[in-house]
């Protein structure tokens, strides 16, 4: 459990009956909204799959489950680092916090790299977005998610730089937690995308 060590965080972070909203209320608008949009896309994928189960299964067989699983583990690990980084920054630890965010960013970059390897492998075998509806969904959904990973990586780079010094205002803590929650959301979306694209045979 993390505890608010900094004076600035005492009022908002101390455990109270009313609880503490991670980040601030606004970021949950973004998170639930974005997750709802993705759920609509996932639903559309499953609906399209119902019309051509065999074709989708054949497309799925072309994917590397190993790469998908390793990418899942990479994002889970980066989420752990980011959660640790947020906790360290709340305690005013200006050495540990940027280190944790940098490690989280490294895992995120590893995810991007592996995704590139996966795309390159598929292209090398002549598979493109137009090959089959499965691959339209595969490339569309993973590219959309990759865009989120890129934005999240930018946020983590920003957090790595910002937490080298103690955060000055309560709103800075709120923004840091919000950015962390955005990264966890990116992880969470992949957690659902992975079984949908790689495992639902």
């Amino acid at each position: 459990m993390r505890r608010g060590g900094s004076d600035l965080m005492q009022d908002s972070s101390a455990v109270s009956p009313r609880g503490h909203i991670p980040g601030e209320a606004g970021v949950w608008l973004l998170i639930f909204g974005e997750m709802s949009f993705f759920t609509a896309l996932f639903a559309s994928f499953l609906h399209a799959r119902n019309g051509d189960v065999a074709g989708f299964a054949a497309g799925q067989a072309q994917l590397s489950r190993t790469i998908g699983a390793v990418n899942t583990l990479l994002l889970l690990t980066s989420s752990l680092f980011v959660a640790k980084g947020v906790g360290a920054a709340q305690q005013g630890d200006t050495i540990r916090a940027p280190r944790m965010f940098a490690l989280g960013l490294a895992c995120g970059l590893g995810f991007i790299l592996l995704k590139g390897v996966e795309y390159a492998g598929l292209f090398a075998r002549g598979i493109a977005v137009t090959s089959h509806p499965f691959f339209a969904y595969y490339f569309g959904l993973t590219a959309l998610h990759l865009g989120h990973v890129l934005i999240g990586s930018g946020l983590l780079a920003g957090l790595t730089a910002a937490t080298r010094r103690p955060l000055a205002k309560p709103s800075h803590f709120a923004l840091m937690e919000s950015a962390g929650c955005f990264w966890h959301m990116v992880d969470l979306l992949w957690i659902v995308l992975f079984p949908l694209l790689y495992l639902v045979a």
């Binding site: 973004l30 909204g33 559309s44 509806p133 490339f139 569309g140 959309l144």
Partner: protein, 238 residues
Amino acid sequence: MNQGPNASIGTQRLFVWLAIAGALLFAFAWIALMRFFPPPPADLPADQVAALYSAHNVRFRIGVILALIAGGFLVPLSIVISVQMARLERGIPIWAILQGLTGAIGSAFIWLPAVAWAVAAFTPERAPELTAIFHEFAWLMFITPLSLFPMQLLGIIYIAFTKEEPDNVSAFPRWLGYLTAWQLVQSFGGPMAVLFKTGIFSWNGLLPFWLPLSLFGAWYAAICWTLLRALRCQRAAD
């Protein structure tokens, strides 16, 4: 007589209402006269594309005229957003300038497609393939340039998170910052339409069209409301 920075509040309110009226007029022309809602499928054959423009040619062209009149609706809104941003910036208001300029350029991507739709409808008897080119040109220009808006949104997000006035009187409350950030995150959807002719990623699909459109509608309503609220508070404080 008031000569202070708040002297233009009346005009700013007028601009916001102009933006609201313009958006509604554009929506009316686009939905009721051009009949582009829901959008025609991206994989429509050329002869059926040509029929879209020749079937009710005059009604369509009147729709284009109204769309051209209303198409600049983003400009007055962007100006008021910029003026309100500049109030909150220190020194040269570069975020406000970025927002205003990108807003003005962004509005071109609303009325330029209307010109291309006008060209498509102008000579209904020409070869269908030629009409189809302008049809695609117009649609891709209309759907994909959501990619321009990130630059516009960035300034609004920055001001919402760094301003020092309380949220309940501000034109840029923090929740609007997050709503705007959500829009920025969503802006990948539009350009994807370039890759797909069918399915949810095509220009009439869930991702490039339905989701951004509903989010844009919500954002537009939200920022008009917060601007009018802020202007009301500034007039009361004057």
